[in-house]
């Protein structure tokens, strides 16, 4: 499984990538949307984990751009913000979209990625 992590928080995304790598997942990370768009040119990813709120381009916009380039790519949205609009947008953006709230539980993230790859129906748990 090849994963691209996109988040403007370098500290976060680098540590996350390393943790995934330790679990045998091929995880790349970038801090800007443009880097992400560039990175997919040179490498194929099965799944992208995108922060919803990023400077210059939102995760949703980025997802659209990435999908153009890699139609088979799955997406998981991560947010530190609780805005309902973001969430609603994320839901409508992709049928197979997944939505996680920071701070992440590494195991949950891995489970979601596996589900996404298997193309299971999106479901979200009641967040409390």
């Amino acid at each position: 499984m090849r994963v691209l992590l996109v988040d403007d928080e370098e500290e976060l995304v680098s540590a996350l990538a390393e943790r995934l790598s330790l679990r045998g997942i091929d995880a790349d990370w970038v801090c800007t949307c443009y880097d992400a768009l560039e990175r997919v040119e040179s490498k194929t990813f099965d799944i992208a984990v995108l922060d919803v709120k990023m400077p210059k381009m939102s995760g949703l916009e980025l997802k659209r751009r990435l999908q153009e380039k890699c139609p088979d790519m799955k997406f998981i949205f991560v947010t530190g913000h609780g805005s309902e609009n973001d969430f609603r947008a994320a839901l409508t953006e992709a049928g197979t979209a997944y939505y996680l709230v920071k701070p992440l539980n590494i195991q949950t993230l891995i489970d979601k990625m596996n589900q996404a790859l298997k193309g299971m129906e999106a479901s979200h748990e009641l967040e409390m």
Partner: protein, 582 residues
């Protein structure tokens, strides 16, 4: 039942209103004062004409009655005086006629005199005897039942008076037969300068009949006294004939007069009297004031009864109307204040929501970084051989992770309060929903011996709402109730139709209750009474958020020591509500 407890039952809602003045939104009015003012003013305006009319009428009729009594008495006295006067004058005139018609020689003939007495007795009743007295005072001839011929009257007072005035009418006296009599004497001058006196005794029976035949109202009677106050004719109340009467002798007056006396025993008497000219007599008519006033007392009683009834009716109407109106006013103002409270509360919740969201956002990112870094350290300790094995460090980092997990839970809850995930509206059957929720908590209830009673009205329709959120709401409320109750408590869940568009779910426990001070803040985030037991203070605030999300409303009633009741009212069709943080 005491007066106080009757008052407590009748007391309108606004009566104790003054107590809530210290609250934030004041009522516009002092209801008790308005009520008192209204009652006092209307009662004053309505009753004063009634009362003054009654007082006026009382005085007028009273005065009219009094003057009527005086007038009637006065008239009766006048008429009676005329009768008495006429009676005496008539007899005097008869004697006058005789002395003018007969010569003294004829009168001294006892046969003629007998004939005359006979004629007098027939024509004018009451004559007992008649006698002729010469200038020396000796009775020359006498006809009558006694042997009075030759009696010398020269030294008697009456003889002197008849000489002086030409006529004399005596007081009543007891004659030889012990019967009251009076004497009438006339003097006749003879051509030779000498004179004689014709003297007749008149029985007072006629006199008495005349007076006792009078219709005297007011339990009174009519009688005659002489100027010394000696009773001349029988009276019912004021003494015996020829004794002093019990009343003082009224002062001389040429005309009829009416006076008021305090009689024996403090009874008020009306005394009408008249001095009968040329006689020693005073005609008295004495009536009892109370007797005379009896019809008036009756009228007065009726007047008072009518007045009391009018006042009662007017007061009742005024009290009723004033209470009704002020109550309405109070209700309206109460609604206004409640709305203000509600608005303020919603407003506060909204701003707290915004604040919570802001804080959560700001904390979440660094928290996520800590999470990942700690996670990485943990991973390294576990997954990389060169770092493996230091259990102490693993323990430390795990503790960091679990703390981050806890922080994360708090920020998620805060965000959850501020906004919610999508509302997923589907038909929901309440009965099933409650069963599901109780499924989660059934074990706890069983273990703690809590009796759960579910009552869902048959008519509850399937509602369109978010099942997950409803579950969460119910779960939170039931959880709260469980926390508030001691083992062996009782929980009631009631679902009923509120209106055409809404249903209500009532969750009632018999737990410890919530103090009134806390009730106002209970839906605020981080407000917890269970802090020592590990509550975050977010449960009810989230519940509140969820209910609002579904377009509903949540209310709480509680009594310390008795229990708490949460009522969630939900629309049959959930509407999308505006978020709290927009």
């Amino acid at each position: 039942m005491s007066i106080m407890s009757i008052f407590e039952r009748l007391k309108p809602d606004f009566w104790d209103h003054g107590d809530t003045d210290q609250e934030r939104f004041k009522h516009l009015f002092n209801f008790r004062r308005i009520w008192k003012l209204t009652v006092a003013l209307t009662a004053g305006v309505a009753l004063s004409p009634v009362i003054s009319m009654a007082v006026f009428d009382y005085n007028v009729t009273h005065d009219a009655m009094e003057s009527e009594i005086v007038l009637r008495t006065s008239r009766l006295v006048s008429n009676s005086r005329r009768s008495v006067s006429f009676f005496l004058t008539e007899r005097k005139a008869a004697l006058d006629f005789i002395v003018h018609h007969q010569t003294v020689q004829k009168l001294n003939d006892s046969a003629v005199l007998t004939e005359l007495l006979d004629a007098l007795q027939k024509a004018f009743t009451g004559f007992t005897d008649v006698g002729v007295i010469d200038a020396s005072g000796r009775q020359r001839t006498y006809v009558g039942p006694f042997e009075l011929t030759g009696k010398d009257y020269s030294d008697q007072e009456w003889f002197e008076e008849v000489l002086a005035r030409g006529v004399y009418i005596s007081d009543v006296f007891l004659g030889y037969r012990q019967l009251p009599h009076l004497v009438i004497a006339v003097k006749h001058n003879l051509p030779d300068g000498s004179f004689y006196v014709l003297r007749a005794t008149v029985d007072t029976k006629r006199f008495n009949d005349l007076l006792s035949g009078l219709q005297v109202d007011g339990g009174g009677d009519a009688f005659i006294v002489n100027q010394q106050g000696t009773i001349q004719t029988p009276t019912r109340w004021h003494g015996k004939v020829l004794e002093k009467m019990s009343l003082p002798v009224p002062g001389y007056s040429p005309a009829t007069r009416v006076l008021q006396y305090q009689g024996v025993g403090g009874k008020s008497l009306v005394v009408g009297y008249a001095y009968i000219a040329e006689t020693p007599f005073i005609l008295m008519i004495v009536k009892h004031w109370d007797e005379l006033m009896k019809p008036w007392y009756k009228t007065r009683k009726e007047l008072f009864a009518f007045l009391a009834a009018s006042i009662t009716v007017v007061l009742l109407v005024i009290l009723g109307v004033a209470t009704y109106l002020v109550n309405k006013l109070h209700e309206t103002d109460e609604k206004r204040v409640t709305t203000l409270h509600h608005m303020e509360y919603s407003e506060r919740m909204a701003s707290i929501g915004r604040l919570a969201a802001g804080v959560a956002h700001e904390i979440n990112n660094p928290l996520a970084i800590i999470n990942e870094k700690a996670g990485l350290i943990h991973d390294i300790f576990i997954l990389k051989e060169e770092y493996a094995g230091d259990q102490k460090l693993i323990g430390l980092v795990e503790s960091v992770q679990s703390s981050v997990e806890r922080c994360g839970a708090v920020t998620r809850r805060l965000l959850s309060f501020a906004r919610h995930m999508d509302v997923d509206i589907r038909p929901v059957k309440f009965k099933e929903l409650i069963e599901e929720v109780l499924g989660f908590l059934g074990k706890e209830a069983e273990y703690r011996g809590i009796k759960v009673n579910v009552e869902v009205w048959d008519q509850i329709p399937t509602i369109e709402s978010d099942r997950g959120k409803l579950q969460q709401i119910l779960l939170n409320l039931v959880n709260n109730a469980f926390a508030a109750m001691a083992d062996g408590g009782r929980l009631d869940i009631k679902v009923y139709r509120r209106s055409a568009e809404s249903i209500s779910v009532e969750v009632t426990d018999n737990g410890c209750g919530i103090p009134e001070v806390d009730l106002k803040r209970i839906f605020e985030p981080f407000f917890s009474t269970k802090k020592t037991k590990g509550g975050t203070g977010l449960g009810l605030s989230i519940t509140y958020g969820l209910v609002r999300e579904l377009g509903g409303d949540i209310r709480v009633e509680s009594a310390v020591g008795k229990g708490t009741s949460f009522t969630v009212t939900l629309p049959l069709k959930a509407k999308q509500r505006k978020r709290l943080d927009t």
